[in-house]
């Protein structure tokens, strides 16, 4: 049987911590360098938010998550050591508790937080958040009397080669291709009759993906079966498509929309006015701000969202992130975050600095003396 004491002694050893830190340094260093080539998001996914990654394509190495989990276990178990709980180590104990809290908070944030963008033009309102990275495919039924019926297919369903059977409409969708970044060109020669909708006149061509994932225009090519001879065929869709493809299923008229994954909120935000102020006589922005109505249960409330002054409501936080200059109106971009772990850094930084201060106050005078007491 494994000796529990021995095990705790091993996993709580500062040696384990030292080596995990060395590995973390390696990951952070190379992950940062890699950002120059692959961009921030890709590098984050590969090195920092991963459990493991493949070095040179075949050698699996521990990623940021595993490393930090080991660190957390090591830190937590080190608190069970008997010789730590002494008055003169008070500062050290407090620092380590604070550090543990910080790591736990990081874990909660990594697991449960969600973020995206809310894009609103002046005079318009929005009640949903667009995901930064994930896409979704919507089938919109326009034949109902006073409403639109949306059928949404999520990102995991839209991988290349996936087949979706949707009995309610009696159709089957095969994903032929899901492309990260596309451009659209006119067809030179007439298309095969299997291509329907805009693919009849255009082709979707893959393009080198941009380093910044948000700069990409993803595209989707899929085949629909089970709607009848006329409409069965291969369709295409891409982000920001102006004129959607329409088709009939069982006598009802549908159109498709390939869009950023939406999360609906229990309230809406209406943009009244977007303002930006420049430093006089320059092109450097001094500040920008959005005057909005927060509409909940049809009751509007005026709020000003500006740089460094976000709106917090029902666990969501809206930040003035960016804007789009239009010809006749401006569009604001609000970064939206839902984060359950956001108080952890605040608390843990206070705890850690108190701990370090106590430790320094106890030990520093001794360390700065020219001759240390033990050498006398």
């Amino acid at each position: 049987m494994i000796d529990i004491k021995q095990l705790i002694k091993f996993i709580s050893s500062p040696k384990v911590f030292s080596y995990t830190v060395v590995w973390l340094i390696v990951i952070v260093f190379f992950g940062t360098i890699a950002q120059k080539d692959v961009g921030l998001y890709a590098s984050q996914v590969k090195y920092f938010s991963s459990y493991y990654f493949l070095f040179a394509g075949f050698l699996p190495l521990p990623g940021g998550r595993i490393t930090i989990i080991i660190m957390t276990v090591n830190l937590a178990s080190s608190l069970f050591k008997k010789n730590l709980w002494k008055m003169k180590k008070l500062g050290i104990i407090i620092v380590h508790i604070g550090g543990l809290l910080l790591l736990i908070g990081g874990g909660i944030t990594a697991k449960f937080s969600a973020e995206g963008n809310m894009v609103i033009g002046e005079g318009e309102s929005s009640d949903h958040v667009d995901d930064y990275h994930d896409m979704e495919l919507a089938f919109v039924n326009t034949s109902l009397e006073d409403s639109l019926e949306y059928t949404i297919f999520d990102a995991p369903l839209l991988g290349e080669g996936k087949r979706i059977k949707y009995d309610k409409l009696g159709i089957q969708i095969d994903i032929i291709d899901h492309i990260k970044n596309v451009r659209i060109e006119s067809r030179i020669s007439p298309a095969d009759s299997i291509y329907k909708g805009f693919l009849n006149d255009f082709v979707i061509i893959p393009k080198q993906p941009d380093k910044e994932n948000t700069q990409n225009r993803p595209g989707l090519i899929f085949k629909i079966e089970g709607t009848g001879k006329e409409t069965d065929g291969i369709y295409g869709a891409f982000l920001g498509q102006r004129v959607p493809d329409t088709f009939e299923i069982g006598g009802e008229l549908f159109f498709t929309e390939f869009r950023r994954k939406r999360t609906y909120l229990p309230f809406a935000i209406e943009l009244l006015d977007f303002k930006k102020v420049m430093h006089p006589g320059t092109n450097v922005a001094k500040s920008f701000s959005s005057e909005v109505n927060l509409i909940e249960n049809k009751i509007p409330r005026r709020v000003l969202i500006q740089m460094n002054e976000p709106l917090r409501h029902r666990g969501y936080t809206f930040y003035q992130a960016s804007f789009v200059d239009g010809l006749d109106k401006e569009t604001t971009v609000l970064a939206t975050v839902k984060n359950y772990g956001r108080m952890f850094p605040y608390i843990s930084s206070i705890i850690m600095s108190i701990g370090l201060l106590i430790h320094l106050l106890i030990n520093l005078p001794k360390m700065l003396k020219k001759r240390s007491p033990s050498s006398k």
């Binding site: 500062p14 911590f17 030292s18 830190v21 973390l24 340094i25 952070v28 260093f29 992950g31 940062t32 360098i33 950002q35 120059k36 921030l40 590098s43 984050q44 920092f48 944030t109 973020e115 380093k211 420049m278 430093h279 006089p280 006589g281 320059t282 450097v284 922005a285 001094k286 500040s287 920008f288 740089m307 460094n308 976000p310 936080t317 930040y319 992130a321 970064a335 939206t336 975050v337 984060n339 772990g341 850094p345 843990s348 930084s349 850690m352 600095s353 370090l356 201060l357 320094l360 030990n363 520093l364 001794k366 360390m367 700065l368 003396k369 020219k370 001759r371 240390s372 033990s374 050498s375």
Partner: protein
């Protein structure tokens, strides 16, 4: 020490003396590059851009004198060889003759530039990152020529505050009123009138008229409703330009080093006291310069790269003085004098790019968390570099005198203590940075290069401390690690901008990259050299 206390007292009085001379032409406010600055700063920065220096020493003219002469006598001003062009390709492309003096006048260059307008337009359309050095310099020269012309007929001098109806906050130049016939309100009229009086007085060399006109000008300025400037602040800036506190501070550091070296050679006590006095005066002036900049701009000590350099060196100076207070054997002076001088030199090379009091983009503007984060993390850089310096000393000492165990141990204890202090500031500063990010754009941590850089410093320090505690590293290895940590600091501080991704990458040029690589190479050689030399020397005895 009593003498030292007295000396400190006088020094404080000297630095707190308010500027007492009257309102001068140098002090009049101009709006330029988004802020209101004294004419002196405006003239210095433009002369720096054209001529490469902040005054015309050969002709014994200050920047403001040069500007006034240009306005009063544009005909001769255009003949003055004021443009410093050091690239022979630029000269050749303008069909001009290459001289060893590198100086050309407006009249030399302007007609040639007109001939190249097609080429200039094509360069202008390129994105700036695709332009070659030659193209950049040619474009800059053409912009400078245009700017020079605008100054000569007062168009670029935005001297007159807007009326009440102007919401953009943009100031106007005398040219706007005189040539385009904008309507004036009574304050603007008074201001323009006294400016004219001053200029005609200056042309006729009538000291009395000039004095009176300036007085009127000051009164006119004061009477403006809702003005956004303080005449006192403008004066402070002019004074700071003239006195140049950081140059004097550099002088003090160099003197401190020379006298310390003398005191080590000859060993009288009073020499080392004088050396301390020089170091303290340098530090006080250094700190006073930082405080003045804060007062002028009304913002925290660090918001640009240049300011971070000055501030980091100030922090190192404080640590050196504290170390010296505890040790009293010159080690603190030694570290302080050397690093203080080096950082002042680096700072001067940054200052030569233009106005060091530039405006900031929206996200970096006025925020409590940003201010505390940047200040704390910069203190962390300073403390880390200080620990690195002490680590170098430890390695040096163990090479020079490996058997003086008490001294080695005491230096090591200093090193360990400073490392803990450094960890406090870097750790806290990094978390504060996360909190700022959470406040401003909703995420605590985004693996942005600058964040990772700060994190790397924290991790390196955590690593060394835990390796020492667990016995993996002995004293010498700890010192080696902390010495090499200087490289991490340099990379986090300057190297991040090499990557040009993320929110933190501000202006950067190739020279910095080169210097950074030189620094890394030198540090590697020094640290490993000091560490391995004694070990290689003793090895043959064992075998």
């Amino acid at each position: 020490m009593n003498l030292l206390t007295k000396y400190l007292f006088y020094l404080l009085i000297f630095t707190s003396v308010q500027v007492t001379y009257g309102f001068e032409i140098e002090d009049i406010p101009v709006q330029d590059e988004g802020r209101i600055k004294p004419l002196d700063t405006f003239a210095r920065n433009h002369l720096l851009a054209f001529y490469g220096k902040r005054s015309l020493k050969d002709l014994d003219l200050t920047a403001t004198d040069w500007l006034m002469n240009l306005i009063l006598d544009p005909h001769n001003g255009r003949k003055q060889k004021i443009f410093n062009v050091r690239n022979p390709d630029v000269i050749a492309s303008l069909l001009m003759e290459w001289t060893t003096e590198h100086k050309y006048s407006f009249n030399d260059i302007a007609p040639m530039l007109t001939g190249q307008s097609a080429m200039l337009a094509s360069i202008d359309q390129k994105p700036s990152k695709d332009r070659t050095v030659f193209e950049k310099q040619l474009l800059e020269l053409s912009r400078n020529i245009l700017r020079f012309e605008e100054i000569s007929y007062l168009k670029a001098l935005k001297l007159i505050p807007p009326g009440n109806d102007n919401s953009s906050g943009e100031w106007m130049s005398p040219y706007d009123f005189i040539l385009t016939g904008l309507p004036m309100n009574q304050y603007q009229e008074k201001l323009l009138g006294s400016l004219q009086a001053y200029l005609s007085g200056r042309l006729a060399k009538e000291e009395h008229t000039m004095q009176k006109a300036l007085l009127d000008y000051e009164n006119a300025l004061m009477s403006f409703p809702n003005k956004e400037f303080e005449i006192d602040t403008l004066r402070k800036e002019t004074w700071m330009n003239k006195v140049n506190l950081f140059y004097i501070s550099l002088g003090c550091y160099i003197m401190a080093f020379i006298i310390l070296a003398l005191s080590w050679m000859t060993q009288p006590l009073w020499l080392s006291r004088i050396s301390i006095a020089f170091l303290i005066s340098g530090t006080v002036l250094h700190g006073y310069g930082i405080i003045l900049r804060m007062l002028i701009m009304g913002r925290p000590p660090v918001s640009t790269l240049y300011e971070s350099i000055i501030f980091v060196s100030f922090i190192i100076m404080i640590f050196s003085l504290i170390l010296e207070y505890f040790r009293r054997d010159g080690l603190g002076i030694f570290i302080g004098a050397i690093t203080g001088s080096i950082f002042h030199y680096i700072g001067f090379s940054y200052a030569s790019d233009g106005d060091t009091l530039g405006m900031l983009v929206a996200v970096l503007n006025s925020n409590f968390w940003l201010a505390t984060h940047v200040t704390t993390i910069t203190m962390g850089y300073g403390a880390s570099l200080m620990a690195g310096c002490v680590a170098h000393l430890y390695l040096l000492q163990s090479l020079r005198n490996p058997h003086d165990e008490p001294r080695l141990k005491s230096i090591f204890n200093n090193l360990y203590g400073i490392t803990l202090v450094a960890l406090f500031f870097t750790l806290f500063g990094t978390i504060l940075g996360g909190i700022w990010a959470d406040q401003s754009w909703g995420r605590f941590w985004g693996w942005d290069p600058k964040e990772n850089g700060a994190l790397l410093i924290v991790l390196c320090q955590l690593m060394m401390i835990h390796m020492r505690l667990s016995g993996i590293a002995k004293r010498a290895e700890f010192a080696l690690g902390m010495g090499l940590n200087n490289i991490t600091v340099a990379l986090a501080w300057f190297g991040v901008n090499l990557l040009q991704v993320g929110l933190h990458s501000y202006g950067f040029d190739d020279g910095v990259a080169r210097n950074l690589f030189i620094f890394i190479a030198v540090e590697l050689v020094i640290c490993f050299g000091l560490y391995f030399w004694p070990r290689l020397k003793t090895k043959p005895k064992v075998t």
